[in-house]
């Protein structure tokens, strides 16, 4: 199987971009990535798009062809694929695009992720997000997305003594990082008190424990490693990828405080990359809620099970701490345009490994990881990236 590298990255700002359409955002991210990669449109073999729910958010399906069309690629008649996998769709698109190059079918593939979430009201947006949970066995009984994560948080507090302050420290850290990211939705530091005093969304998760609704898009240009050197001196190799699924409904899972999909996806990615969690200096993990980042760093074995909260509070995961987690600000501060999430995480890791992350640069980063969840953890995707030698 062939090796695959990222040779171009692009991203829009994230936020409530009321004057920008889904198309505008997709084009901007795509063109930035193509320019960054220095490829021509005739070099491109295929387009993979991660998008969770354009059908519900903007009444537009068939966004795969739409994105290629508006990127000026319609007359190339490229194969275009739209991937849906809840919040993990962007990360799955990346994985599928990588497979297409590994197999030898394609040489250069564009991976895009986009979501336009603010064209509907807040309540409707929350309902759409909740549709990645089990509609028949969770939502119909009144469980909201935040409520399901709140149950995981409660159990984690019960089992391991995790506190609200531990969880709040995730939000404080990610906002601190977001303040250094000019593309982040929230470029403002917050205090522990702000998080602790925010109104409940689903106890014990307050407003500031939750990632926002966002508009935004991100894109990558992938290339076979053998051709990558034609375009760049600094290809970032995708060293390993793992995807796993789990029971759709939270109540069917083995353990409320461990996401088995994350554990398995992580193991698969590390096995392929032939490295260990300790070899990673920078990670972008799924933090749609503060508890989710705590679960992620435990389930990816960056910290011991149950110690995610204290580790965060003690600064292990701060920028240039033991392992820098969510230097971009994460979903919490950078923003969460669902379909773009997995792709934006990869954009951040590539920038970190290239040494192009500006004020939030992780010093000496050579290996980075992305971790993306679909729903309440029924899908998890982990990618490992390495700076080319």
């Amino acid at each position: 199987m062939r090796e695959v590298a990222v040779i171009g990255v692009g991203q829009t700002e994230f936020g409530e971009l009321w004057d920008r359409s889904f198309r505008d955002l997709g084009i901007e991210a795509g063109l930035k990535a193509i320019q960054d990669a220095n490829v021509r449109s005739e070099d491109i073999d295929a387009v993979y798009i991660g998008n969770m729910s354009a059908g519900k958010f903007i009444d537009q399906e068939h966004v795969s062809a739409l994105v290629a069309d508006y990127a000026g690629l319609a007359d190339m008649h490229l194969p275009t694929v739209r991937i849906e996998g809840g919040g993990a769709c962007g990360a799955i698109a990346l994985l599928q695009a990588r497979l297409a190059i590994m197999s030898g079918l394609h040489d250069i593939v564009i991976v895009g992720g986009a979501e336009k979430m603010t064209d509907v009201g807040d309540v409707q947006a929350a309902e759409i997000l909740s549709s990645t949970a089990d509609q028949e066995w969770e939502s119909v009984f009144g469980a909201t997305f935040a409520g399901l994560y709140a149950m995981m948080a409660r159990r984690h507090m019960h089992e391991y003594g995790t506190t609200r302050e531990h969880m709040a420290s995730v939000a404080v850290k990610n906002h601190k990082n977001g303040a250094l990211n000019p593309e982040a939705q929230f470029q403002k530091e917050i205090t522990m008190d702000t998080v602790l005093n925010s109104p409940w969304v689903a106890e014990p998760l307050g407003l500031f424990d939750c990632a926002p609704l966002s508009d935004g898009a991100a894109a990558l240009v992938l290339c076979s490693m053998e051709k990558a050197r034609k375009f760049t001196d600094a290809p970032i190799r995708i060293a390993g990828s793992g995807q796993a699924s789990d029971f759709l409904a939270v109540h069917d899972r083995r353990d409320l405080t461990t996401m088995d999909a994350t554990v398995v996806a992580g193991k698969r990615a590390f096995a392929e990359a032939k490295c260990e969690p300790k070899d990673v200096q920078v990670a972008e993990v799924h933090d749609n809620f503060t508890i989710t980042e705590i679960l992620a760093i435990e389930d990816l074995r960056f910290v011991e099970k149950g110690k995610g909260g204290p580790a965060t509070m003690d600064g292990w995961t701060a920028l240039n701490g033991k392992i820098s987690v969510n230097p971009s600000g994460g979903l919490k501060a950078r923003g969460q345009p669902v379909g773009a999430t997995g792709v934006a995480q990869a954009v951040e890791i590539v920038r970190q490994l290239r040494g192009q992350a500006g004020k939030r640069q992780v010093v000496g980063a050579t290996r980075g990881l992305t971790h993306t969840l679909g729903g309440t953890g029924a899908t998890a995707v982990v990618h490992l990236f390495e700076r080319g030698s």
Partner: protein, 350 residues
Amino acid sequence: MKTGIVSYGGYVPRYRIRPKDIGAVWGSDGEAMGRALNIRAKSVPGPDEDVITISVEAARACMAKVDLEPTEIGAIYVGSESHPYAVKPTATIVAEAIGAAPVLTAADFEFACKAGTAAMQAAMGLTLSKMMKYGLAIGSDTSQGAPGDALEYSASAGGAAFLIGTDKPIAEIDHTVSYTTDTPDFWRREGQRYPSHGGRFTGEPAYFKHVISCANLLFKRAGTTAADYDYAVFHQPNGKFPVRVAKQLGFKDGQIDAGMCVRDIGNTYSGAIMVGLCAILDEAETGDRIFAVGYGSGAGSDAFDITVTNEIARINRKATPSMKEMIADHVFIDYSTYAKYRGKILMREA
């Protein structure tokens, strides 16, 4: 020749409800909501009050300050988004009530919260063109906020009337300018009891964009800056937006305090900026300059550059209670009384 405000009158119902009492019913922290909105209480119309009675009260307060024949009024326009009738004008009832009928034209206006200022502009044109001597422009609402919705903390009742004309205005309107786009931030369809709104979309791309753009157009047209005015008043959907917009435009707290009625009575919608303007005229003196920018969802802003003349001393401002006195004269009610007064309790059918 300039047209302007010949007289004015405002009316706010006596009843008030506090945010804390609304929040208590819905399991929300009403006090925090009140703090966030910068609203201490909102006015509630009594069981026998509606946009017609409020408009009549405001019109009577307006006419009481001057010695003019109501029959000299050539037009009555009532701006509101809560006219009691879908078909059947409010304005005709006002005309009869103040003795202005039958030789006049009358109509009801609707443009969310700025229908009243639109009526002022129409009356300005009709009087400047000499089609009539006076036009009466009224903005009045008993606004609807769905139970449990964020709007319920602010949607209140009140109104104001401005007699517009070129004959001895107490305040000349030197310039007016409007800024209008199709921006669906807030709406209520035919037959719907409560409005829908776009949440945070009602802020930046709606209120702030229109108010600031319109204000800057007026500055340009008048050749002025914030420092040239003694008073400024803005549409006040809550106590936060007008403060922020004033600051952005360069106004100081001292310039906006007099017209900031929202903190004590909530958002009176079509009445909001006009009630604020009444409160300013209650205390303004000859030569004072007033900067006023309204806002209506959907969306648009009307801005007015106003200069108070020496006629202000010749009308009887004391003929009716001042806005300050009217706002201070209140009775707090609890949520159940509020629910009864607002017709939210299902009664047995007759």
